[in-house]
Symmetry: D2
Subunit: 275 residues, 4 copies
Amino acid sequence: MLSRLRGGRVYDLSVEYFIGMPSWQAAGDPHYRIWMTHTPHGTIVDDPLGTGKTMNGHVSYTGAAVSMYTHTGTHIDGLAHFGLNGRIWNGFEAGEHLGDRGWRVAGMENMPPIVARGIMLDVASAKGLAMLPDGYRVSREDLVAAAQRQQVRLREGDVVLIRTGRMLHYEQAAAYMANPPGLGLEAARFLIEESGAMIVGADNLSLEAFPSELATDYVPVHTYLLAEQGAPIIELTWLEDLARDEVYEFAFIAAALKLRGADAAPFRPIAIPLR
Amino acid sequence: MLSRLRGGRVYDLSVEYFIGMPSWQAAGDPHYRIWMTHTPHGTIVDDPLGTGKTMNGHVSYTGAAVSMYTHTGTHIDGLAHFGLNGRIWNGFEAGEHLGDRGWRVAGMENMPPIVARGIMLDVASAKGLAMLPDGYRVSREDLVAAAQRQQVRLREGDVVLIRTGRMLHYEQAAAYMANPPGLGLEAARFLIEESGAMIVGADNLSLEAFPSELATDYVPVHTYLLAEQGAPIIELTWLEDLARDEVYEFAFIAAALKLRGADAAPFRPIAIPLR
Amino acid sequence: MLSRLRGGRVYDLSVEYFIGMPSWQAAGDPHYRIWMTHTPHGTIVDDPLGTGKTMNGHVSYTGAAVSMYTHTGTHIDGLAHFGLNGRIWNGFEAGEHLGDRGWRVAGMENMPPIVARGIMLDVASAKGLAMLPDGYRVSREDLVAAAQRQQVRLREGDVVLIRTGRMLHYEQAAAYMANPPGLGLEAARFLIEESGAMIVGADNLSLEAFPSELATDYVPVHTYLLAEQGAPIIELTWLEDLARDEVYEFAFIAAALKLRGADAAPFRPIAIPLR
Amino acid sequence: MLSRLRGGRVYDLSVEYFIGMPSWQAAGDPHYRIWMTHTPHGTIVDDPLGTGKTMNGHVSYTGAAVSMYTHTGTHIDGLAHFGLNGRIWNGFEAGEHLGDRGWRVAGMENMPPIVARGIMLDVASAKGLAMLPDGYRVSREDLVAAAQRQQVRLREGDVVLIRTGRMLHYEQAAAYMANPPGLGLEAARFLIEESGAMIVGADNLSLEAFPSELATDYVPVHTYLLAEQGAPIIELTWLEDLARDEVYEFAFIAAALKLRGADAAPFRPIAIPLR
């Protein structure tokens, strides 16, 4: 694939992080925060390094810190994020392997950089919409129709990104978070079992639509992909530029922060179109 | 350059994040923290989504959150990190553009993904050492000698990464942080002004060596690169695999988290060797 | 006053801190967070002190950490919280005294413990209501009527706590936070200038009602009390037990956490009825 | 006791919170952090409430946030902090009662305000020292000697605070934290079982001295007091003013923040001498 890289445009598939941004908040997880630990003026007042007022007036120091749920912004869910009956992918059991600082196995430090063929399926556009309706559940047929319209064929090992158009609401956090459209379970099965996708992602908050299709599992697409198929999930991708330029096939290059023990990590994927 | 990508190995240039990891702590900045917000068992006790005990026992939920100084782990310093006399690169003044949530201009959300030729200069090996001594200041001559030994020629637009060997201490935070070897000012000038480097980086804590060469500036390499040359700085890169395989020229691909207003951001760069 | 302390009941005037609790969130401040840093089981897996599995199974270690805006839960606003035209009480100017870690003057470490006569004015009950209506602005007349009904007379140095009844909504954060009733400016003047109150507080989110009575100041009661009168403000007090028992006069004893440089701090005041 | 309160001086038994302060850091717990969320100038740049530049220049807004391990600064350990063999005081088992947000039983929200007789035993002064030596383990005899010298007799229900003098190092965090003197197990037994103390505290980091007296328990004084006796522990108290004034008997008044589910909470105790 690397020999087919088209020069020129590199597409940025990531959203920005800012106070007030959308994130998964329904279960009480930390919202994104950023704060200043050093400012040019504050440093003059505080003198944290003991260099004195003249030095601090000359050398203008800015530093910032952040805190966030690991599922904030464009990110990838690792296999530890959801298991079934106390066990994650590979049969690892929480009681044995999960400490107060994360999993001793299957943490994000083990996820390699991803350099793979990427396919974007623009379901919204295939349905003639700017954005799929609230709560809409993308079906197997929707995916087939989008692939057909785009004349792309999925292959073993692809990273498949589904566009719902939800990113049009990204700067309005409440609108983005409330009842998003998402992937249905049958559609997920189609991507993995019929089409050979390695990783599935989308431009919405949590990949799938709510409420669940199953009475016994409130996140069946997550448990199917992560716990049953060993397939990571990418969420909150920015697909608007690809959609505008009708770029459906590309090198997908991304590497998640190696947060030891974590079940997910932010990253900033890029897409380079293929010849 | 993309047409010269060699298939096969992708080199991961990033370190892991964990409690106790080294970071810039001299000025009181936050150490890296990770904590669990959801665990399979805790979810049964807390029931944060109100789904009930049976559901929580079946769907095993793990979630983690992190906090960190933006200069933690492998990261890139943006142009707002250090200015001179209250102004950063482009003449932006803190009083006008710096709020409590970062810079309204020149924040990390403006830094594009980096796809460029990367060159690793293995100064430690060129000097016949596993690791440069504590406090050693890499000179222009050291860089010239390393490039000559490696038979690489620097070019306009390169990302140049200096290997001091300091990563051998990475898992011993105190040893890694104490008095690291680093880049001298003349060497930095050589990279930018003579060699055309776009970005300079290293495998140590803060690129440069301390104490400063100048009485009037405690971080002269930082202010030279960021404030005078508009050149970002990469720190804490993992260069050991490249060194072992003697890979000195590669496609450097990296994209920093788009932390709005921030002066730096973590990322996980990769290197793909060139033919 | 201390000689008049009645034995027996000590009233707790503080609310609980928990994930999802109400707090001032309109300007993007951190919500309350708590997380576990050590659990009996996690310690067995992590072994953070290197004491081994047997020891960790025997000695069952729990540790928790928290983060919060300093105005979270029952707390007191110090004089640095709001100033006018860049200056806080005593004329201290932010440019000179405010660093990245707080004020070098007038921080909460300077606020002494409070042992004073406390008076609770139950305005809601005086108006025959369980809770004042949303957005209701407590007037001078309301305070006079409540004091008269309770047969209390305010004195120089009192801590005066106004009950709006809003605490009935405390466990429903959205209801508690939305458009609370609060103190009007004229009523605040009455308490300070006519009645000699040293500190004014209430059971609502921000003492005053919104939107502001003044076009030129969005928090006129805060700037009046803090910046013009040098009077701290207590918010989010639990007055329900005092109201139920019709305890209107008491020893108010409280000491805010000595957060160096902070503009506010949480505390847990108590009331001991007087003979 | 309340009828014996002496007017006049109120003693503040709390230390200040600041970046760089000592805290329990050996097991990777969060250091104290404070940061600004609003500053008078930053608010003008950010305009977080949309009130505009003129308004933000007139109404000067300061806000700060904090994060900390709950055992930071002057604080009290609740009964959930240490158990034995998976169970805390009252036989509560972590597997049943401990979620990701703390204990569902025995959390700090259940600890009532403390209004009790306080006794300070100045062991350092009794031994003719400004400060007990590093690692010194206070014995039963030391306590008896100090009580005798001070002519105080312990009674059922007392809060007993042991002065080691360690606070002389408080502003030098490394010195304060390294190998502190502390209470021995036999001395703890004397206080609880022979003397009837309700709560035991000290001016050092962790009450007891290290390494442990027992091979099977690395914190035997903690497990004895918390898990076996149901007695909370107070740490990091400021006793220097009491010592200077030779005030050994007082009303101890304190109320810990009601952190739901937490195993400890900061507070700011005061002492009012008795007649």
